[in-house]
Symmetry: C2
Subunit: 335 residues, 2 copies
């Protein structure tokens, strides 16, 4: 007998794909004896801000008697994946989770990971767990109803992982920037596949999947990106903030003499050709963004440890930064 | 530099050991640059029922900027250990935890384990995580202020693990039942040490520390014990309920012909000589207790799987039970 299953699906996906609710329900009914259990939920960062939503899911799962062998299937973007993953990981000390990420960003990055979390006390992922999903299914059909800017925002993590780990992938992105900008299906599928694979290989092989150390080798540009997101009240998507954060760090690395001018320019051009933001009014208040440094350090603890690149796929770690230099460079990212 | 540390200590311990608060504070001040962080908390099952208490701890830890390298030290009984362990495991996806259990039961059993949990939706450990502590310090001084009945309640888990795993330990308990009943320090220390070691060996070697399967090989008598505890509104301590649960299961096993009369009698006499309960008025409503079977199954899921013994350290698993037989035998455990 298959395990009991419950599905949580983002409401917008059910609206945009009119047959989806019926498909899910029919499939559940065909594959288990119990009545089907489909919960429609809001997505986006707001779902991570409301603990009552999590408790409603847990209550429902309790009513339908899910047990530790049961499977929760989450269909939605990265924020919903984070929240459902957290709920599943604490219910009866952990249900099994199958992720079906529905955005470029979640398909190529967050959906592959082992992190869950919800926001509290005004901090992102204040409560969370590490838990590997049973599986991840990337269905490219879900991308067809995304807004163009959301698709392009998802490219930022691919640029990031290419810069950190795979020079030929960065070349590929540069060479396909026009198709990607124009939302070509094949180009998007290739980008997701290659980025997801690099992400997965990192988690499997880097030796610290649960971040016991102080190092966050994949988090290029993320210290400021997290802060930019919250300062913009999430008007900036995560990928857009990552694009800005990487460009600020690249400018800083170039100013420090770590990064040569030609690669710095290639990075800028790459984001430009992909249609990702290069400037933002929040850089008018760099002191607000710089507070993200301490929050970034606190999350893992220990010494501040930021990843930078010296060259394509050549990384370095930095334990202290020149905040005045960051401050003075911020004007170049103002509109 | 040592990691940041925060201590949560059960209020009754701070009251009963007048120098304890000062000892903790001085030690923290001597070993870290930061101000010391000692939280006094209620213990017992009620601490697991109030999510606001957990959130207060998290808020405090956030204020003092604990990070994933920080150490939370929990001094208290099993319930406080469960709740603090849960809080520590979700704060920033997991702080390090050092347990100082303060009761016989928590020193020989729960404190050694990898389970955390809080109660919700009226169910024990409804939310929880698996997380191994960094270390466990059993300080026998804390036992000196326990009520005699609480000390004796702690013996029940030792009897349990002896029955399941170590015939010579059961012989030892029988031979030292008088000293244990009379709260002899050396006898208590030996019992705790041997029981804790058996418990730890089980977690290390049984192959399923995070209970992915349906089997709960250490939970002899626990399906009814959990229910007896909640039906008694926790007037019954966990150990007392376990003693009753084991005796009901032993009577059942004897009636089924699995357990010979002489061992059944030895088990009864052992609990009697240790001063643990043998009867309880809740057995007048066995149908209420029998609802614990389904709750026990649900928690792990899959097929109902109960551990029984055929002989000392000879176990068997049972996947269905004769509820009518349990029902009829309950009268023998009525006062």
């Amino acid at each position: 007998m298959p395990p009991k299953m419950a599905v949580i699906c983002e409401t917008t996906l059910l609206d945009q794909h009119p047959s989806l609710a019926m498909d899910i329900t029919s499939w559940l009914e065909a594959h288990q004896q119990n009545p089907s259990h489909l919960i429609s939920s809001q997505g986006g960062e707001s779902v991570k801000n409301d603990p009552n939503i999590i408790d409603q899911w847990l209550k429902k799962w309790d009513q339908i008697k899910l047990c530790r062998h049961s499977l929760v299937i989450c269909i939605g973007g990265g924020a919903l994946q984070d929240a459902v993953g957290y709920a599943a990981s604490v219910f009866h000390r952990g249900l099994r989770l199958l992720r079906c990420p529905s955005t470029v960003l979640s398909q190529n990055d967050a959906g592959i990971g082992v992190k869950n979390g919800i926001n509290d006390m005004g901090k992102k992922n204040f409560k969370g767990t590490f838990a590997a999903p049973e599986g991840v299914i990337n269905d490219l059909n879900f991308l067809t109803t995304l807004a163009p800017n959301s698709i392009r925002a998802g490219y930022a993590e691919a640029v990031k992982v290419a810069l950190l780990k795979d020079a030929s992938f960065f070349d590929w992105i540069e060479n396909h920037a026009q198709e990607l900008h124009d939302l070509d299906d094949d180009a998007i599928a290739s980008l997701i596949h290659r980025c997801a694979r690099l992400h997965l290989e990192h988690i499997q092989n880097n030796g610290d999947p649960y971040e016991k150390g102080s190092s966050r080798p994949l988090d290029l540009g993320h210290w400021s990106a997290h802060k930019l997101e919250s300062l913009s009240k999430h008007a900036l998507e995560h990928g857009e903030a990552v694009a800005l954060g990487i460009q600020w760090d690249a400018l800083y690395a170039h100013s420090q003499g770590w990064l040569k001018a030609d690669l710095y320019e290639r990075i800028q051009n790459c984001f430009k050709h992909l249609g990702l933001p290069q400037r933002h009014h929040l850089f008018k208040q760099p002191q607000d963004i710089l507070r993200g440094l301490e929050e970034f350090r606190e999350h893992l603890g220990g010494q501040l440890t930021l990843p930078f690149i010296r060259d394509l796929a050549v990384t370095m770690e930095v334990n202290q930064v020149d905040e005045e230099l960051y401050f003075s460079l911020a004007s170049q990212l103002c509109p």
